[in-house]
Symmetry: C2
């Protein structure tokens, strides 16, 4: 890239003095060119009171508007202006040194801080390079003492065309086809369905014209005539324009002043503060407007709670925010929609529990005073024997969740998870078809700034060691090294930008070893932390209940279980919430240490780590309650003790399932409520407030100048968009609550549903009103989240199998009914589950000290053990082994059955919906037809040309060799609209124009009439 | 398509009288044009003794060689010649009627059978259409009384170009890049590895030039200059040419004479007998040759047993036979290669069994006479009590297969299966990358002939019912219907060919309902058949052993078990082999009934069905032995009886595993040996012999004429290729033996390995020497087979878990050792597994009648039951439940552990090999660079042109609108080689020429020098 001297006629246009007239700051000062992107940097000069007319300001008055000429060249005006105010920052500015050398600047009148100064140079080089790439730039002419300065970028039509071709952006062609009309019964059904659905549809302008579908095709400048271009201003929508500009920003190199590629590195270095595309205008509708902009439509029809019952306008969301965010909301929508049947079945299952609680024999038996089971004391010494009928309440509550319907529900929910995933796969494919993403490849990604920095450092180290070996040859080793290094860096960087592979072109595992090491150890540490927290809470429960039981106050004693459980769960919840936030940041830190190469890479690793940590955190206490609580308590006379004093806790007499249920529901509800209210509403509000107070000064000044804030000012005041990971993470953890332990809490889907209805609108509001517009990112799927979801789905099968067989009493009941019951009913089940214990076998000191039941010799406890009078007393009885075998058999049966059913479901539901397959086939055929037709006409045209010209002996030879070049004059016969379209924009220089008028264009005419016309025009034109 | 009168100058060339001079019949008579495809039909005239000079023969002398002109039109010469000999076949020839009407023929001199005659017309129309599509045709001029007639097809360069572009065939470009050289340790390792590998490499000309890789890109006529075209004859290899011609054959319509699309329908209708591309010549090397053809190389280096230790030349196989067959052999190679470590581990495991058999306490205890276990009799009445030590042999044999190493081996083999699949996935991706298949889409498929016929019938039915409603309006209803129907059919067919959707364009489930019904019922019937066969064999065993036991001859008595087992297994094997063949044909028949739309569809359904049936067939007896045998035998005093008389069979005293092992090994080995020898070698030889005898007459005549057989004669004598399904199926069933029950037979991988080493060469030989050359089919993967393999892999986990825990004695031993053994050793295990039975409890008549052990009161039997002196005598004991629980727990543990490990393995091994990812990235970058460079040069050229012409005011306006057309004279400055290349072939008509000289070609020159040249040439040319 050399500076071409012919480029010195760039008009310097004054910036707008009153831009209100031009569409509220969405356009350049000429009111025509859209602002596609805004770069912001913060003026950090502290001498804010200097006079605006002083000499030093002259170089700030830069307001260069390139005319978008095509062949890249550095704008010398800009560089000169930049240099004029420059101070040679001495030896330190290794990074910017060279440009000074080249331009011959050695001093200046002003004393800018070097960093600021360097940054300005970087900005200037970067922006000059952007102009080289064809972008047009506008800056404010006015003086900003401090506060944000905005550089507005506009991509003219030729640039859009070029980039759209590179990015393979699919655009609609003129060719359309009709979707098949359903007939007969199906048709009337679908009409009815549409009618029923009408009130749930958002009022959004329809993008598709009924059943007509336009064929879309990757944009190509050689096929411009195929596309339906009504206006070059609107052919690419704002989102696409933003994406295109971002693509240029991403790959623009800054070689001279600082070896970087792309805007993100510059932002990371602090050269710019922010870079974002503009919103479409205000989201509030002020007064009467004839046409709402897209942001307003989204705000009205989507981002408000009152729209909760409506479908989401996903196509519009995708159009405005891009595919990645569109997919998130589509996914959330599908998930929420499918939660509806799950909730209904959950409610029915719960209703079954409620309905049968009064006829359920085991709980009736437990409540029956006449059966008079005297239970062994719950703690040593202080506690007395007790009657089982006092636990009647928990027994009844337990039945609500622990009944045969739960087994059905667990199977149902496992299949539901598979169905959900399959349904989503189909929806994803449908969406990616409708959004024209089928067949597109993933974008090539640039390395992350961090990665590049480390890579450069590594190269420098290598270079240095090489240099050291050659040191003897050098005269001024130090100077030479610095310069040599820079030269070398520069070379490297341009090589990198040009995609030339390098000897050291990647980081190996050796570079990452420390990162991995810290990673593994930190994750292990955090696992340990989580487990120790769980264990601490257990200890808390044991000690507190022991202490309370020993207290002489009967009021305290009676409330032991309730108090302890409640406080423990709340402690658990608080700890989970705190650790959740900590783990989130730790995961980011750890992922940075791994130095992933690309952003996708970074995201995947971050997600995996964050998921692992947050999952452990949220589920560890629940796992404990489900599978470990009460299993290590021992038996009367041989209890397990921790710290030599405290007996391990047991489950409530109603079974462990009810405790699991309580634990699960409190953690789930608490997490959702607190996270929604505090983390998603409260903290952003607080942040906004803080920033508002901070920026008050500049805002006041802005106001003083009497100008309404421009769109870029408004957008800059919003928070930056920082990825969808937290949103997805919240939902995935919730999916865990819905699927993993659903056997113990059938109402989980209902609560998830209620939460999600709010969550959708909350997130929507955030995106529409509270965040800067994110750059549209093309994405075909939700990436690693799908794998996590499907992994959880699989895991949930085995977890539910274990919950049903080990945590609930389902299997023991079955075994009793079919193997031990004398008459095939459940009568006597409670008696069967309780073993006998001879009171005289209590260890010294563990006997109840002041008991009301002095006369009994046997107490009962819940376990299958041999009675004291048996040969091997207190050993596990045959029933125990029998029940255990049944439990294990159930796990095998359940797991394999559900896995098999899941496979069948996944196999039966085709991944690609049938109508999409058909449409794809049809589109492919149509496309081939279009191109074939084109080729045929082209050929016929040439043929007739040839037969005409064959008589001209002179031209004959020429034509035979290359018939295509026989039509030089034909361009004058082109339809004028098309020619205007390709030649009508801007500066008049033909270079930057979209080179659309290739030969493929002139061949799309009918072959007969234009031939003569053409033949003659050829002769006349020459 | 109308007949264009300008096409009547087709030269009629005499066919070769002595074609030996021209490359052994691989070329047309001119010795230049390759024969790319051969269509064969059999002359079925019976008046074979007519004089060859008679008048009727004149129309047989057709020998049309089209010059490959481009725009399609019917060759009237051919049609006229066809009509000349035609007889109007009256009312019956509904199919060909119309063409007669049009051409005005009503009679002829000869009495051909109508069917023959119709077929000739069809052939003529079809071949005329082929000529329209640009193919060149040669037929024998000579008279063939009967016997095969050959139509040779040649695709000229323009047709190849056109089709290659449509088929998106990837071809190498001139751009190349170097593969990264490994450095340091890795490099020396790989050099060493190469050296070690050297003797195992086949001696095949290297296709890749060391580390240089040529970028490949889909063929496009507009980018001809990018490709490395040295000769237009060889640029597309024979395989590709065959594929291209097949593609044309597949989609060529036959509208007038018979409504069909494609050659396969014509073959199905008997119009042609066969259609195949030619082999590259003889596979035998006769005398000295300087260069072996590819078929010879394959035969020498691949298709012989002596090459068994070598790698397969997969790239050459793919080049010769196409991707689909290449993938099969690659898969077989990978499978065989991975069987090597599996065999080695299997041998080690078996070796461990052999080594420990003398120190194994349970088998020592079983052989120990002093322990003196008196066992209960094995049959009622006739059998006596017996000592356990007599079963010492089986106990020792049992230990060989039933030892702790087996558990390890089962886990190993489950992971091996996962590894195999992952490895194959990688290999598949690397192959498809090396073969240039990445990014290609699947070919659009035409419906199968059967489907089309049924569809036409359906439409006709619909049409008829519509017609009937309108009947009153018609004057001659019958004639009208026939003609109307034909018109309508014709319209439909051309619409189908043009891809226009039709109201009735597919068969619905209603049309297939009877097919499905027959399907389901047949499959159920065959399942029942399989099970009844298994059951019959059981009955056979029970009855024969009972009868033999009752026989008074002690010689018979002592051989009961051996005789019965041997005969039963042999019966089983024979039945399996017979049913296997039957089920194969039934599956084809059933799939035909389903009327699948495309061949892929057909293949998938067929494979699924055939697999299901053959799997059931092969494994039902094995499943019986593994999981059911001996479990329903009952206990002494309460045996289970079938047919009131015969006791259910029990396992051998050494355990069921040894029986499973015997069953498995005999079926596996027998199946492989017999199938390899009889079905794969014997039957084809037999078929060949039969055909040879049949064709003897014609062959003799051929010989008499003194002509050596042409290549097409030789190829026609070979068997047709009929799909890879049987080959894959054999291997998949074998994979089942290797994976499903591997816990019981660790030597299975070894036997599979030995079989496969032979199998590869056997199949190779078949493809090279015994089959006609198959059409190359593009395939990226092995399709549904992968799913079947992975399904079997998953299934094998659970099967092996059950085999280990239920069939083997592994779990009872563990339980004994850790729960019941008094000293932690295995001593006393046998005693522990045997329950007591009080002899007095025998039911009347079941007591041994003449026993040598009159004095005993208790006999032992193998089960965990309470002793007779217990309260609940003969009930399952606590040990039983305990062991059962342990078995089930082991299943859960094993299944989930292996599943988890499999997931980890699959997750750790990336699907796409790293170097492929890198190469892909690099190629993408290079490609973009190439195109960018091209565009830049193009642009610079135009720019300089423009700046030149800008001074010319007259031309300025013109150029501004369409700068591309400013280079009419440039074609004269093209490098002459290129221009020659695109204009040098054949007839001289420019229409059929590859339109390569598009403008993209002239821009690839360097921008500086040709500009002036060009500018001036433009001026001079005009």
């Amino acid at each position: 890239m050399q500076i071409s001297p012919s480029e010195d006629k760039i008009p310097v246009v004054d910036s707008p003095s009153s831009p209100q007239g031009y569409g509220e700051g969405l356009y350049f000062s000429d009111g025509k060119r859209k602002v596609d992107y805004v770069l912001v940097f913060h003026q950090r000069r502290h001498s804010s009171l200097r006079s605006p007319a002083s000499a030093s300001v002259s170089h700030d008055r830069l307001s260069v508007v390139s005319n978008g000429n095509f062949p890249p060249s550095v704008d010398p005006d800009a560089l000169a202006a930049a240099g004029r105010g420059g101070v040679m920052p001495g030896g330190e500015a290794a990074c910017v040194g060279e440009v000074f050398m080249e331009l011959g600047y050695a001093g200046g009148s002003e004393s800018l801080e070097p960093a600021d100064h360097e940054m300005r140079l970087m900005r200037q080089e970067f922006e000059a390079n952007l102009q080289d790439a064809g972008l047009e730039i506008e800056r404010d002419k006015e003086i900003k003492a401090h506060g944000p300065s905005f550089t507005r970028l506009h991509a003219p039509w030729p640039v859009l065309c070029r980039e759209a071709e590179f990015l393979k952006i699919r655009v609609p062609t003129k060719t359309s086809y009709e979707l098949k009309e359903e007939s007969g019964f199906g048709s009337s059904m679908s009409t009815m369905w549409r009618k029923i659905n009408q009130p749930f549809q958002p009022k959004v302008p329809r993008q598709d014209q009924g059943r007509t579908r336009y064929l879309s095709h990757s944009f190509s400048r050689e096929k411009l005539h195929l596309y339906n271009i009504t206006s070059k201003e609107t052919f690419f929508d704002n989102t696409t324009r933003g994406r295109i500009v971002y693509e240029i920003l991403r790959r623009t190199v800054c070689v001279r002043t600082c070896q970087t590629i792309g805007i993100s590195t510059l932002i990371a270095k602090g050269v710019y503060d922010a870079a974002f595309p503009l919103h479409d205008g205000d989201f509030r509708i002020i007064g009467e407007v004839e046409e709402r902009n897209e942001r307003q439509i989204l705000h009205e029809e989507w981002a408000r709670y009152s729209a909760f019952y409506k479908y989401q306008p996903i196509d519009l969301v995708r159009k405005y925010f891009g595919e990645k965010i569109g997919l998130y909301f589509a996914w959330l929508g599908v998930y929420t929609q499918l939660l509806i049947p799950a909730s209904i079945v959950g409610i029915i299952v719960f209703g079954y529990g409620v309905a049968t609680v009064d006829t359920n024999i085991p709980s009736l038996e437990m409540c029956d005073d006449s059966l008079n089971f005297t239970m062994c004391p719950l703690c040593d010494g202080a506690c007395d024997f007790w009657h089982l009928s006092t636990a009647c309440g928990t027994a009844r509550a337990s039945h609500l969740f622990d009944n045969p319907a739960t087994v059905f529900f667990a199977i149902f929910m496992s299949l539901w998870a598979v169905l959900f995933l399959e349904h989503w796969k189909r929806r994803q494919i449908s969406l990616s078809f409708n959004w024209g993403l089928t067949g597109t490849e993933d974008d090539e990604e640039h390395p992350r700034p961090k990665y590049e920095t480390i890579l450069l450092q590594k190269r420098q180290r290598k270079q240095k060691t090489k240099k050291k070996k050659k040191k003897s040859e050098q005269q001024k080793p130090e100077d030479g090294t610095v310069r040599g290094k820079d030269r070398w860096r520069q070379k490297l960087l341009s090589a990198m930008a040009a995609g030339i592979p390098n000897p050291i072109d990647k980081l190996t595992w050796k570079d990452r070893l420390p990162g991995y090491f810290i990673n593994v150890s930190s994750i292990l540490f955090m696992f340990a932390l989580t487990f120790s927290v769980v264990f601490s809470v257990i200890i808390y429960r044991i000690t507190i209940s022991a202490l309370m039981a020993m207290s002489p106050d009967p009021a305290i004693k009676s409330n032991v279980r309730v108090t302890v459980s409640a406080t423990a769960v709340i402690i658990n919840l608080v700890v989970i919430l705190i650790l959740d936030e900590i783990y989130g940041s730790v995961a980011v830190w750890l992922t940075e240490l791994e130095i992933p190469k690309t952003d996708t890479n970074f995201e995947e690793r971050l997600i995996l780590k964050a998921f692992l940590l947050k999952f452990m955190n949220a589920y560890a206490p629940i796992f404990y309650v489900a599978f470990f609580k009460g299993r290590f308590a021992g038996r009367p006379g041989n209890y397990t003790y921790v710290f030599n004093n405290f007996r391990m806790e047991e489950c409530a007499p109603g079974g462990c399932l009810i405790e699991l249920c309580i634990q699960l529901s409190i953690i789930m509800l608490g997490k959702q409520l607190i996270q929604n209210n505090i983390f998603e509403i409260g903290i952003p509000k607080l942040k906004k407030l803080v920033r508002a107070i901070k920026d008050k000064g500049s805002a006041v000044k802005e106001k003083e100048q009497g100008k309404p804030p421009q769109q870029w000012n408004l957008d800059y005041a919003l928070a930056a968009f920082d990825g969808l990971t937290p949103e997805y993470m919240e939902m995935i953890i919730q999916f865990g609550f819905v699927s993993l332990f659903v056997a113990s809490f059938p109402l989980a889907p209902l609560f998830a549903l209620l939460n999600n209805i709010i969550e959708i609108r909350l997130d929507a509001r955030k995106f529409v009103a509270e965040l800067r517009r994110p750059v549209a990112i093309r994405a075909k799927d939700i990436g690693i989240w799908y794998n996590i979801l499907s992994g959880m789905g699989k895991f949930s099968v085995i977890i539910n199998a274990f919950v049903i067989s080990f945590t609930s009493d389902f299997i023991p009941r079955l075994v009793y009914q079919y193997m031990y019951s004398p008459n095939g009913t459940m009568h006597g089940f409670i008696d069967h589950t309780l073993s006998y214990f001879n009171v005289s076998n209590f260890k010294p000191g563990t006997m109840p000290t002041n008991s009301n039941h002095k006369d009994i010799s046997f107490c009962r406890y819940k376990d299958y053990r041999e009675p004291p009078w048996s040969l091997d007393a207190y050993q596990f009885s045959k029933q125990y082994w029998c029940v255990l075998a049944a439990r294990l058999a159930f796990v095998i049966l359940f797991q394999n059955l559900v896995m098999f059913l899941s496979l069948v479901v996944a196999w039966v539901i085709p991944d690609v919906p049938k109508n999409i397959v058909e449409q794809l086939k049809r589109e492919k055929k149509l496309l081939v037809d279009v191109f074939l037709q084109e080729e045929k006409e082209k050929f016929q045209l040439i043929q007739s040309l040839f037969s005409k010209d064959n008589t001209l002996k002179a031209g004959g030879n020429l034509f035979e060799q290359s018939p295509f070049f026989s039509a030089p004059g034909r361009s004058s016969t082109l339809p004028s609209g098309q020619t205007q379209a390709s030649g009508g924009d801007g500066g008049g220089a033909p270079r930057a124009r979209c080179r659309a008028a290739s030969f493929s264009q002139f061949t799309r005419r009918s072959p007969s009439s234009p031939v003569n016309e053409n033949g003659s025009s050829r002769h006349t034109a020459v």
